[in-house]
Amino acid sequence: MVVQPPQPRTVPRNAQLTKADRRFARIMTAAAFFSLIVLSLIAFFLVYQSLPAIRDQGLINFLTGTEWDSKTTSDGTTTEDPVFGVAAMLWGTILIAIIAIVIGLPVSLGIAVFIVFIASARLATLLRNTIDFLAAIPSIVFGLWAISALTPVGKQWGEWLTNSLGFIPIFENNLGIWVGTPFIAGIVLAVMVTPIITSVSREVLGRTPPELINASQALGGTLWPTLRYVAFPFAKSGIVAATMLGLGRALGETVAVFYVLNLTYGKINWYQIVSPDGGSIASLIVAKFSEADPLEISALLGGGMVLFIITLIVNAISTTIARSTVKDM
């Protein structure tokens, strides 16, 4: 006998909630949306407070200009119109972040592979803790290290690079000074992003299904084929997401870069990484902040807004990639 089943009587979802439950849920929801409020307030106030400077300079000039000069003399009088453009600083920020990733990514992957596939359990734990500890070291401490230990070494390397490989454009240096270069700032950032990329990569590599690894090894696959054909395809998007996370960190880093990077206004240094012409929005803000008049502060807030938007985009890409990975699995 074939029959039509009855329509379900659905349990209304809220019926299971008592009054106290609903109040509880409301409080938790309110707290959860705190982050939304903060993010929107950040966006709103940075835009709002930077409007005077952007209006004064024009949005296009602000974004494409390379000069940054309040034209204020030491006695506080202004003779010319101030010029504020973030282009040189913006590209400088991106350039040192790229150097950081180029150095930091292979190092991170090497360490992650070592922890997951090679090291004994005890060594892996030790290394994991070391990396996590490295991630916890404050950036100001890296800043001090960069001044006292890295700069002399980095200066020497820069000089050697120019002398030996100066025919390659990125190693050109016409000034004869090798301190304060994007190269040195990039190395500091590489050290700072390595723990971030390592710990995420380690996690995604560690999630490679053991049966796949076993299958590969049972077929006679040694380390490299196992990585190349099993682990990396599996962890690829996780590693990309980790890299974006590290990139976001490198773009926003302030004090460590501030100490070792020479800021140059008036031109964009596109590729000469061992030349002392650097840029960094975060460093610009810290460097100019204490002596700025209200219009320059407004311009600095505009710089902060640009930085905020870029890191938001980078982070959104990272989250999207990470989420699509989860869906795939």
Partner: protein, 355 residues
């Protein structure tokens, strides 16, 4: 007697796969020393510039890895040899950096580190004052107060956010997760600027400790929320069902079962949040202004904090002030290690407790 008998009968545990033939050891030793020796000699003779020698070393070392791998395992070993040589460089890089960072802070920081340095404040101290005077007591207090306030604000909100995501399971939990993620990417300099732009630039507040704490909150909240979320996910679903089956409301399940069960994990979340912000400098530059005097009132007047003290001190071109900055960095590093270790110990306890 009887134990000896048993020892005779049972074979001792062995791991034949761990034994390396003498040949293998020889290959590894030769492959890992020969390129270095060769390049060092070239460099000493002065045929090639240091950069070229260094690069030659890297290339030769990787090639040596490839050759060693091939000898050891045939063609399949080639890629493995290259890989292992490269990983060796990665490990050497991070090991060098790690020891160099600690070494540089330690050697330069110990000079000024005396008990007086930790408890005295910096009033009447100029950058050239000798090391026996003045200290960072005011900055230590300032850091503790600022971090304390940030903790008081961000821990409840962070845990509530995690509860919303894992327990209330509201409709927008994916959105909230995304927002928390986005917030964790806010650069620290932007967090400081934001507080400056909203509360100080507009004239609502002066520079004071509370402003620094608010800037820290922005950075701390996502760390706390994300760690707490992970911790709450570890609470077995069974416990929630059991509590519901006993007639508990959702709110009581959370407050009486889920949160107490996850207690040590939530403490870990708090400690990781503290470790995240305690060394942050950029947010303080725009918010607390810094001070040489001791000020323990967070809503009145400028305040000092260790990171800001270091930041300003190291820019002074005078040896005593620089030495003081390095010592302050050592104190800061010590604080970070304390929070970090506490978090580690607690979370490993939790893992053991689960087994």
């Amino acid at each position: 007697m009887s134990t000896a008998l048993i020892e005779n009968q049972t074979p001792s545990a062995q791991r034949p796969w761990r034994k390396k033939s003498r040949n293998d050891v020889l290959i590894v030793v030769v492959a890992s020393t020969l390129p270095a020796l060769f390049c060092f000699t070239i460099y000493q003779i002065g045929i090639l510039s240091p950069v070229i020698s260094g690069m030659l070393f890297v290339i030769l070392q990787i090639a040596a890895g490839a050759i060693a791998g091939t000898i050891h395992r045939g063609r399949r070993g080639l890629a493995d040899g290259v890989l292992i040589a490269s990983i060796g460089f990665a490990l050497a890089f991070i090991g060098t950096v790690m020891s160099s960072v600690i070494w540089s802070v330690l050697t330069k920081g110990l000079e000024a580190l005396k008990w007086q340095f930790i408890i005295q404040n910096n009033e009447y101290i100029t950058p050239t004052s000798p090391l026996g005077y003045g200290g960072i007591g005011h900055a230590v207090l300032g850091t503790l107060i600022i971090v304390g306030i940030a903790t008081i604000i961000s821990v409840p909100i962070g845990i509530a956010t995690a509860v919303y995501i894992t327990e209330v399971r509201g409709r927008s939990r994916v959105l909230v997760q995304g927002l928390v993620q986005a917030m964790s990417g806010v650069p620290s300099v932007v967090a400081g600027l934001f507080i400056f732009a909203t509360l100080i630039f507009t004239g609502v507040f002066e520079f004071n400790g509370l402003m620094g704490a608010l800037a820290y909150t922005i950075l701390m909240l996502p760390t706390v929320a994300r760690t707490a979320e992970e911790v709450l996910r570890l609470v077995p679903e069974d416990l929630r069902s059991a509590a519901l089956a006993l007639g508990a409301s959702r709110a009581r399940v959370v407050s009486m079962v889920v949160l107490p069960t996850a207690k040590s994990g939530l403490v870990t979340a708090m400690l990781l949040g503290i470790a995240r912000v305690v060394g942050e400098t950029a947010p303080l530059v725009f918010t607390i202004f810094g001070s040489a005097k001791t000020n323990i009132n967070p809503v009145e007047g400028p305040m000092a904090a260790i990171p800001l003290y270091i930041f300003n001190g190291v820019r002074q071109p005078f040896a005593p002030e620089q030495a003081r900055a390095y010592s302050a960095a050592l104190v800061l590093l010590f604080l970070v290690i304390v929070f970090f270790t506490l978090a580690r110990v607690l979370s490993s306890d939790r893992r053991k407790g689960k087994k």
